[in-house]
Symmetry: D2
Subunit: 342 residues, 4 copies
């Protein structure tokens, strides 16, 4: 059984394991106040070509989302997200647990549009309703799509006009940036939103997200927030070491490219076989629509996720690839796809 269930099924890039092993007995200060974290932050700022941002390392995505949002909003303020957004559906109410409403808009291919944001803001006009104050997006999105540069520019302009922060969840940012049709460069990122993160967990690290705060207003006392929400790792250097590993030798980019390539190959096989797609993507998640029989056959050898039952006969499923996905496994799977009955 080979798993295409997610991009966190294995450990870490060998380069990262090597650095962890090598540094194991070095003594450092705790809580991220160490040489490795400092170096990793420098490397990230260099890649972004933006010195004036703050970089913080957190362990996971939900933790990062809830800490950023709880830090940015006043108690009566709300965050806007796509109805499919991770914070809306898959974080067990973490945002609400920090006191804030998630206002949802119908996603367009999983993406939030300026128009939808504008409507929400117009609908919230007085003190009997929450006040929208932030827009949360994911890039890549939860359904594998990604934002083009011009889309982000427009959305961010709208946010600024309406007095909203724009926060980009980058749990799969690597996959988005390395996607074929992507036109966003590292050095664009700090001009496209107020705060975002570079996901390590799903792109080759054991764990870790590098949060980049661009907007001055969001920087103040952020370490207090991390500590309060339980996100300040005692051996914080582990995060620094891993991001050092990711940002040397273009390991981060290579990892994402590999994942995208593997997914692309699988998607191509489904297309070749005329198996319809729930949505067409260029990142590391693909969504074929299988018949019950096709699903039965493939699930004997491969693990993948049931996404949505469409009717009695058809189910949208999700295949996810990663830096660790084996090319042989993909090739074998392609053969199995091509052998499926229509």
């Amino acid at each position: 059984m080979y798993s295409f269930k997610n991009d966190y099924s294995e450990g870490a890039l060998p380069a990262i394991m090597e650095l962890l092993n090598k540094s194991n007995f070095e003594q450092t200060n705790g809580y991220g106040e160490d040489y490795f974290c400092e170096e990793a932050k420098k490397k990230i700022k260099d890649r972004l070509q933006y010195k004036a941002c703050d970089v913080h390392f957190l362990v996971g995505g939900t933790q990062t989302n809830l800490t950023v949002i709880a830090s940015a909003l006043r108690p009566y303020e709300a965050v806007i997200a796509a109805d499919t957004g991770h914070i809306n559906v898959h974080e067990t109410g973490a945002i609400e647990a920090s006191g804030h409403k998630v206002l949802t808009v119908k996603g367009t291919d999983g993406k939030v549009t300026s128009e939808a944001v504008r409507k929400v803001v117009l609908d919230h006009e007085d003190e009997h309703m929450v006040k929208p104050a932030m827009v949360y997006i994911s890039n890549a999105t939860e359904i594998g799509t990604m934002y083009l540069k011009e889309e982000l520019q427009e959305l961010y302009a709208t946010c600024k006009e309406l007095g909203l922060y724009l926060f980009m969840d980058g749990a799969r940012l690597g996959s988005a940036l390395m996607a074929q049709n992507n036109n966003i460069e590292w050095e664009d990122l700090c001009s496209l939103c107020d705060v975002f993160y570079i996901g390590g967990t799903k792109n080759g690290a054991l764990f870790g997200e590098a949060l980049v705060i661009v907007n001055e207003e969001l920087k103040k006392d952020f370490r207090y927030m991390i500590k309060q929400r339980g996100g300040l790792l005692a051996k914080g250097r582990l995060l620094g070491i891993q991001f050092l590993g990711l940002f040397e030798n273009e390991n981060f980019e290579k990892a994402a490219k590999h994942a995208n390539n593997m997914a692309g190959k699988l998607q191509d096989a489904f297309i070749q076989k005329k198996i319809p797609l729930f949505i067409s993507t260029t990142t590391n998640q693909i969504f074929p629509i299988l018949t019950n029989i096709q699903m039965d056959i493939l699930s004997k050898k491969y693990a993948f996720q049931i996404w949505e039952k469409l009717d009695n006969e058809h189910t949208a499923v999700r295949f996810v690839t990663s830096w660790a996905t084996k090319e042989e496994a993909v090739e074998e799977c392609i053969q199995d796809i091509l052998r499926l009955e229509a």
Copy 2:
């Protein structure tokens, strides 16, 4: 410069690193639903000789504390802790951020007594005041002391009588259990409190705390709480693997014993030198009271923490040892202590 600042200055036990390396490319389910976690839980239950408990792995101590307390208490309920308690002083109000008051009692050698608990409960008599519902203790305590079995038995009996849960923060449980004068065995633990954790971070793991829930009332839906508070690690197996490493070959016990031995040697040197102690301990934290001159001399070669300035001439400082503390460094430090002027 050799650091005695804390017990999280280095990485992990070689046995743990080895397991992490070995398993790196295995595919598993995420979020702790994997073979390694299952095995590690089994091993822990075996060591405790108690099958009916629930074991959960979390990344860090503050996260564990806030999740347990938020899960156990109703909104108007409060937790009692020593004034020096970690949740009261060093978690940036994490407990209050989850909505609950921390009621403090004067610690007796850092420990909470039945008498003090009883007084707090008596003082909170009606709905204009919070309702005490849990007692939080640390073993070993924040100042390196530890509870004897009879102390815990009495405290727990009082808690049960008064309708309070007893929660034991075991960030340094290993050091407590391996201390010379300790009389608590692994198999006693589940009868001495309602919920506790076995600290990995400070005893040889890269990170990780194994939470053990004994009381049936506290078990329900606990994974929801972990997820909501951002503590559900995607690659949850990392926690299972590490606790497997800790609980094989008595690695956990050996690590703690080594730490205690190293601290004991240092403390003995201070005693030999007639340097007074802020408090006498048998765990991995010691608290000599140094003169300014002594502090100057030692701080040239060793990093340690200023604990409390006692007067213009004297300061209580803290030396912490760990599984990774080098015997040579301790020997050298002892020589330097013995060379100090009185």
Copy 3:
């Protein structure tokens, strides 16, 4: 200008003012522990023919909603409401501020159906998502409709089957119970939900909601919750006095009947004039759809609320009547309606 904007434009029923005046210099205990509150609770239990419930008096609706929900739910649990529900739209995120997600279902005439509830529960299947634990409904609803007895019975049966509490916001319960087509009696109420309240503010009191807790599980320590959320009135007797006034001489019923009659007359006039209704109701809120010209004319003499702009020419508006609505004003308004151009 005569106002049909809402049912809280005036003070209180003369009978209530009289009781307040008469008792003004009596000395009582504070915080609702007084003779008047005791008597009022008795009267309410008598009317409900249910002794085993707990009755608490709170000042307002949002306060009652947030206190009940915060008390009933564990941190990761969520409440289901209609998308138009007061807690979802018009309480500035009060529920989320207490830590809980509001899951919305499309209302059917403003009402929550068993089917919709069932779907939400099915969609929330693991610890990555909140856990639905309560259904919130309003009767009368925010758009003036009301639940029939059989609808509530079915909904409550579904809730029990699925392990959900059913909470009925009765800010306008009087109007619902006195509506022409209503088939719910006072003595039915305690068998139709777990907790509900009898709205005073919108039915003749200066302020005040009488919360009735039927389900034993929801009763514990409720006064702690009220106090903590700022809802325990120092001169609590004011609430008891007012509910005494409401529950003597059928004042509560008469007040609601008058309001319904007045609204009915206005609605009849609109119907007679063939002005369409946004929704047809039998309670004290009506929703004609006016043309711009009609709106202009009526708004010169009457205040009412714009509900929803339907197109460039038409707007749904809301007229609300109350115990205090003057029959002469209604008659005059009817004349003005009948004089409108189509």
Copy 4:
């Protein structure tokens, strides 16, 4: 039995009841957006001789405290209060329920000193601890003492120096301002703190506190906060009407003076009888220390509160007077005090 238990045992000043009766059938907008509230705000600003403040009316003290503090602080910030402070002891953890720690200092005669505040701030130095951001005081204090102008000036200067807001709970502000030794004038108040309130509930209103926000930073969107915390009264005019009543004809001042006089007379009797005082006050609360026998005798005719059992023989008790306290009752009580055995 005559009650000296508290200052909220009766209804409201006749002048207030009259205004409520008179206005009962007038129609106004809801939620405090009415003529009465506007007028009352004007009157209050006039009395304060300060136009640039915002005035909001809330129903009760706990509600006001929790709303102000939740609005002012970021999640990791804490409020400093005297250990005897109302928010620390008698609000069922309302502040913690909004997410914030209450840091306590030992009160000096119930008052917070600059020195104590300074120490707390110095002790909280990094992100592992909460960050003090506000000082909460009560004037008059919970034990009947009051701040002199120079004390407030010094405390406020310290707060500004340390970057802390100063918030004055004025539930008994009337009594403080009218006390014999008081040297604070109405027109001083806005220069002595950032935000404060003028208590109506305990000085002649049925309920109501007039919050005055002086500091620009604390004004933004405050009505959102009130609504979210359940404090926005539907018939908000009731608050405006009552404060109109309080601020016409010096009713507020007269009410407080009467209360203080009555308390002073009782205290004088205890002093004359050589009965010791727990603390000597000039406001409407007094604290004689009674023997068991004295307590037995007085409690047959008078209700008062047990404050603190001092030893087996002696108990500090509290007598509270109000605008409604009858002079005859006080005279009779004085005779009874003078007849007590020593």
